[in-house]
């Protein structure tokens, strides 16, 4: 149990150190950075992938794109992509890092949005048109609410991806919680490594919980079929 005691010693050392809580390298500032980068990348990914997935699922055009992007995103090594973009575009701004982050988080949302819309019962579509809903209304009032569980699942998977990749991106100079881990590892400051890792893990778990809550709030009980009969 030697490692367990040193583990706790490092934690105490990291979180107990007042310097770690203040300034631009302090925990609150790093946390905020991590949140900003992840949220920015996820937001951009949602803005690209949801409309694209809706249109492809609704019209059935461009399905190849979905399949290819899904497979490619899994196969592409994140670290390699990050290094490539930084070598190509330099480190003057955060964009050389944000771009690959977005690229990697588009496919899960795209695939699931597409599958969600595609999987809506054709009878339901038919009924919607038959009652006189217009194309946009069918999409917005019927297809999206019914596909919402899958759309949110896609966003959740992307969020997992983004939080992890943001951490790796610290290697190429991006701020955020990953800094503690990367810098600590380089300088053999294990308190920093362990403390930073624990912070990132907690961060990832909180994000998951938030998505689970969003799912409960946003998805109609008629779709998730967990309504209490009054």
């Amino acid at each position: 149990m030697n490692w367990l005691t040193s583990f706790f010693a490092w934690l105490v050392e990291f979180f107990g150190n007042g310097d770690n809580w203040a300034g631009s390298g302090g925990i609150p500032a790093r946390l905020l950075e991590h949140l900003e980068f992840s949220a920015l990348a996820l937001l951009l990914a949602v803005l690209i992938a949801v409309p694209l997935g809706l249109v492809i699922g609704h019209t059935g055009r461009g399905e190849v794109l979905v399949v290819i992007s899904a497979n490619l995103a899994r196969a592409l090594p994140t670290l390699g992509l990050l290094v490539m973009f930084v070598l190509l575009l330099g480190t003057a701004s955060i964009w050389p890092v944000i771009i690959p982050l977005v690229l990697l988080s588009v496919p899960p949302i795209l695939v699931n949005t597409y599958e969600g819309v595609k999987g809506v019962d054709p009878e339901l579509r038919d009924a919607a048109y038959g009652m006189g809903l217009r194309g946009g209304q069918v999409l917005g009032r019927v297809l999206v609410p019914v596909a919402l569980p899958l759309i949110l699942l896609g966003c959740r998977l992307s969020a997992i991806q983004v939080v992890a990749t943001t951490t790796v991106a610290s290697y190429t100079g991006l701020g955020g919680l990953g800094r503690y881990v990367i810098d600590g590892f380089a300088t053999k400051d294990y308190a920093s490594v362990v403390g930073g890792s624990v912070l990132i893990v907690l961060f990832a778990l909180v994000v998951q919980v938030l998505f689970a809550l969003a799912q409960r709030v946003a998805v109609s009980p008629g779709v998730s079929q967990r309504s209490k009969v009054r």
């Binding site: 583990f7 592409l76 290697y171 881990v181 490594v193 990832a204």
Partner: protein
């Protein structure tokens, strides 16, 4: 080297098999080890666990809940935390990847087994199959397509995830990325990405092939008009 940067082919030729630890061929071997071991381990562990979850239904909720949490953990901090237990070794990469794999495969095994139609299961019982034979000869074969679909996801993502291990010095081909970043130089990055994607494609292709061989009835059914 006063002649300017070497071409990518030149660079590959010079670094392929230098006999050093970080020659491309060594990195490739390491990469294969660190990705194949978790793929196989995940399958070996997920099968009995999935079976248990089908046999004792109450097990499934907590198991899948736990696996969901595991799946959400970012790889780098997990590697880092494991260092204090398993050191700077391949094991540190292999353990988390095995868990990620199980997080995908356990639900796949459960879904696969649940996809066996009830009438098929019941007619097997009626014909006098013992539970074990029923499992081996009826239920598992029917579950194979779903499990293999999960395997494809696991194989491709394990192969690409290994490279993150480079940040703790155990990343197989990922080592090319850190090397390229440290003395800014593009060819290693390109070679690394291409080799990793190629490995992923090969693994995926082999699994598709395995699926065809293991489940000839799936294709046969598509071929004949119903």
């Amino acid at each position: 080297m006063g002649d300017g940067p070497p071409s990518i082919w030149e660079w590959i030729g010079r670094n392929w098999d230098t006999g050093r630890v970080d020659s491309i061929s060594n990195l490739l071997t390491d990469h294969l080890t660190m990705s194949l071991v978790p793929i196989v381990l995940a399958l070996v562990l997920a099968l009995p666990l999935g079976l248990a979850c089908v046999r004792w239904r109450w097990l499934y909720q907590p198991t899948s809940g736990f696996m969901n949490v595991v799946y959400a953990l970012p790889s780098l901090p997990v590697f880092m935390l494991l260092i204090s237990v398993t050191g700077l070794s391949q094991t540190t990469v292999i353990i988390p990847l095995t868990f990620y794999g199980m997080a995908v495969l356990i639900p796949a095994v459960v879904d696969g087994l649940n996809s066996v139609p009830d009438h098929v299961r019941q007619s097997a019982v009626a014909m006098g199959f013992t539970p074990l034979r029923r499992l081996l000869q009826v239920e598992l074969p029917i579950a194979v397509p779903v499990v293999l679909a999960g395997m494809r996801v696991v194989a491709v993502s394990s192969i690409s995830l290994v490279s993150v291990g480079a940040l703790i010095g155990q990343g197989g081909l990922g080592g090319l990325f850190t090397r390229a970043y440290q003395n800014p130089f593009m060819p290693p990055v390109i070679v690394g990405i291409v080799l990793i994607v190629a490995l992923a494609l090969v693994a995926d292709g082999l699994l598709v092939l395995a699926q065809r061989l293991l489940t000839p009835w799936v294709r046969a059914r598509k071929g004949t008009a119903s």
